[in-house]
Symmetry: C2
Subunit: 574 residues, 2 copies
């Protein structure tokens, strides 16, 4: 500390001085002209006349505290942690609160340990360019209606949440269990409270008594507000509202309508699920900031939502401000409108400049997260579906992830269903224990013709999910996914293509440019197979097994009516 | 937790429902109509239709989160902790961040332990009506120029700060040591940082590099801002501004000018030093609130400064809001203008109603804090002062605690000085170890005629401070203070009167009504002895030994020039 104070008093040289920046002060909302003095990774002053070994000239650009992404599933980028960091950092992010929900559903705690280690391997000039607060996933599995690779019960949660590995408890999606005072749910929450750890929420449209109960449990955030009224009620009950800038799910524009000069401190920004294309092309929290400002939110409020507010919400004492004693995590941006990031400092080290991260990370590899797709041999006959009469069909809707139940009358032939026009088959094959468990149903509104496609990312248990109108092709897709150790696969007559997501069947070890190109190419192929407009060929599939979002979903155990919260038969009862 | 959630969901009866209140929501700044449901001391919901064993009808009054006093020296009330709690609670305070700086300067850590125990003894229907976060005093003694009853060096601070007894490190008044990177100061601060404990500041008008250095050390608050510009600079450097509503020192009106819609979250309220009369008659944080609103600060900002902001500043996670999962610490106030407190709940227990605390506390007594005035026999001749020529005189100024140096020419006679008109003697007698150390000087602007008065409260080492123009009377005052175990004493010819402050020589064991009456009476007597207008007879004395406030002060070691930060002779050098 002596050396920091000596540097602040100019009795000693600083390590770095950032000159010529308009320094945004998140405490006052004002911009001040001044130099930022940094010593040993800490800001020691804002002022003038500092000497330093390294001078950075910001040339009139704005200096902001690095951004904090309040909630993200890194796995959804399909990038390895190392590649994710390259994009996240160069878009100005300094800290992510990461919930490794996907990989833990596949690999258990070993998945979280892998994430931590992989991020820890991202080192550059003595610093980690990206700080990661890892949340212990609270809902593994997310519902009782599916087979996940791991189960974290109350007792395991009690044991794990105390570890330094975990910053807090991840989004508690199973809100019915919380408001129902389910013993195991309360055991998990109680353990986090006891350890003084933060608990994230997930409670779309929860209201009234149920919201009071959910907040009573000590859950502190929500990123699932469905509209600004929902936001207002969450705010009142003491939850921070996380404005989400995901790839599939945005709620910034609608939800920020609830923000005003008094309550802006209770809003924070997050990505939740964001793909590599969006991360590279549009950015992360920088993109969220520009959206907020574009819709008319004053820049000082918006910046607070990306920095100080999040730091306060999560108790990150050294983060979120450019002021003495804070970590020198600084993003230099062109202006306070588009927030284009020109340079990024982490603990006083320049880690990104001119649209590029300056570091590159050796991949950390772990056997624990490889070779995770374990299935029995799958044959075409496995996809035969002996159905006739009225059946429940999952209807997907364009531009969203909601589904509806539709009753369709079908006829059978040779022990298989004759698919009506516009209807295909959907199958979910358990892939963690090679149990052979397979859920099947019919799917409408997706539109695939003469083939099949599948992916090993299928929320939240990440079994194989395959859609198609050709049993042979569906079986072949399953085997391609097995061979690749997970990924995306497509079979269209003789044409076959697979893109491996060999890290837990969720993420690729390749560079982000390769991941973006490969997913674009395979998606373009899929689109030629007749997928409906407004439907993302692969990304719409990955939510069709998420048995917590209405109305009808398919898991390896069968068709789930989410509203009734139970498994239902595909055939309607007479 | 199950029972809380069951109550929130109305599956179980609540313990208490507060009906008919306008519930102020500190997160949104709005007032909502609704009932507050409480179970096991926690708020479990705001809404309607709750059943409970106990119903409280607020009859249209406002429900606010109980107030948090961010910084107070309880000793300055001259009340025992038990009596202090009666007044504090009935004025709506739920938590105080108390710095037992005075008693620790007299009794060491045992003084802090006494405060903790005494407050812990204040129990009522299973709750402590007042929560106390005790800070470990950082400056014992406050300066090297005085003899205190205890010394807490760096090593002791390292040992003590880790104890559960202490919430954080008290105001770091010795800012020259901090910015000078003094080894012992940094040892103390480093220990607090290491333990993750909050550090309070005290840095009047500190600016520029010095302020950067002070903030770099990790100090997070300041209650000594001298004007709104000082506030603005402190805010920028990340310090919370504590608006002070003390008895001698107010800075609310001036400093709140720096508050605006963006930065209001960085302001909090405190009392610092507040006497029993003010506490009873005007209140504590409720009074600060009414001052803020009177000067035009919107009530929602003001209330946040008294509740949520302070809770965030100090990391009091369960405090500062009326929302599920928060402690049911609630003040019912008549309106959002005068903030007259009608009733107070603590963890769901009604602890004050209709201007009265409902509890009464048995006194906790400890030998550690009694019989602390230890002096040798004092005689009239001890106050003889062999002076002639130009001497440095302490000049007190009305309506404040600043002093000035004035050079006065005097003549001597029989080994004693002949007091010029308007000048009396001032003496500080060491009273912890009976060393006989006595500092003497001349005092102007005070105005005492034909006697002496003295007090055992004398910041910050609390030696005996005695002013008078009669050596016999001064000696007699010293002996009266010794006999009383500390207190206030006055001798005017044959008339004598003493009021005992027998707890550490700082506080009375009597009821607050008695303390107020007795201090009023003895003060009225003193005033008849010719004390100047605008000078508080006793309260102006207690700051005359505080060797950290400019310009000239007297301690048991002699005259201190605070600007030069050294002891100087009374006689001017030729």
């Amino acid at each position: 500390m002596k050396t920091l104070i000596d540097a602040a008093m100019k009795r000693e040289k600083c390590d770095l001085v950032i000159k010529g920046a308009k320094v945004f002060n998140v405490f006052t909302g004002e911009t001040e002209e001044g130099d930022i003095a940094v010593k040993k990774g800490k800001i020691v002053g804002v002022g003038s006349g500092y000497e330093a070994d390294e001078i950075y000239n910001a040339k009139g650009a704005y200096a902001l505290p690095s951004f904090i992404d309040a909630h993200i599933h890194v796995e959804s980028s399909m990038l390895s942690p190392e590649e994710f960091a390259l994009l996240s950092v160069r878009h100005g992010t300094g800290v992510i609160v990461a919930d490794p929900h996907e990989i833990v559903n596949v690999c258990g705690i070993a998945g979280a340990e892998y994430m931590k280690e992989a991020f820890a391997h991202v080192r550059y000039r003595g610093v980690n360019p990206l700080d990661v607060c890892l949340q212990l996933p609270s809902c593994v599995p997310a519902s009782p209606f599916e087979t996940s690779g791991a189960v974290l019960n109350g007792r395991e949660t009690e044991r794990e949440i105390g570890r330094e590995l975990f910053y807090g408890l991840g989004e508690f999606m199973n809100y019915p269990a919380v408001i129902g005072a389910d013993e195991e749910a309360l055991q998990k929450i109680g353990a986090a409270v006891l350890q003084g750890k933060m608990i994230d929420g997930h409670a779309p449209a929860l209201s009234g008594n149920a919201l009071n109960a959910y907040a009573t449990a000590g859950i502190k955030t929500d990123h699932e507000c469905v509209n600004s009224d929902d936001c207002r009620e969450k705010l009142k009950r003491g939850l921070y509202v996380q404005l989400r800038n995901g790839s599939s799910a945005h709620n910034i524009e609608e939800n920020a309508k609830a923000m005003n000069a008094y309550n802006y401190r209770r809003f924070i920004l997050c990505s939740d699920d964001r793909n590599a294309y969006d991360l590279r092309t549009h950015g992360e929290i920088d993109d969220a900031l520009s959206r907020l400002v574009r819709m008319g939110v004053p820049a000082p409020w918006a910046i607070a939502c990306a920095t100080l507010n999040t730091a306060e919400c999560y108790g990150l004492k050294d983060k979120g401000a450019i002021a003495p004693s804070y970590d020198a995590d600084i993003a230099i941006v062109e202006n306070l409108k588009e927030f284009r990031v020109l340079a990024v400092f982490k603990r006083g080290v320049l880690v990104a400049e001119g649209d590029k991260a300056l570091f590159s990370a050796e991949r950390y590899s772990s056997k624990d997260v490889m070779g995770t797709v374990k299935i029995k041999e799958v044959r075409a006959d496995d996809f035969k579906f002996d159905l006739s009469g009225n059946v429940r069909v999952v209807r997907v809707k364009p531009n969203g992830i909601m589904t509806e139940e539709e009753i369709v009358s079908v006829t059978g032939k040779d022990g298989d269903v004759i698919l009506p026009k516009g209807v295909c088959k959907l199958a979910v094959i358990e892939r963690h224990f090679a149990s052979g468990n397979t859920g099947k149903c019919l799917l409408k509104g997706y539109g695939i013709c003469g083939g099949a496609l599948g992916i090993s990312v299928a929320h939240d248990s990440h079994n194989l999910i395959i859609a198609g109108d050709d049993n042979e092709a569906m079986a072949r897709v399953a085997m391609l996914l097995k061979e690749a150790g997970g990924g995306m696969a497509i079979v269209n007559g003789k044409f076959e293509r697979a893109f491996a997501l060999d890290i837990a069947g969720l993420m690729s070890g390749k560079s982000y440019e390769e991941v973006i190109r490969e997913t674009e190419e395979i998606t373009a192929h899929a689109r030629r197979m007749g997928i409906e407009d407004g439907i993302e060929p692969f990304m719409s599939l990955v939510f069709l097994s998420l048995a917590v979002i209405p109305e009808l979903r398919l898991t390896d155990k069968g068709l789930v009516d989410v509203n009734q919260f139970k498994i239902v038969s595909v055939k309607c009862e007479e």
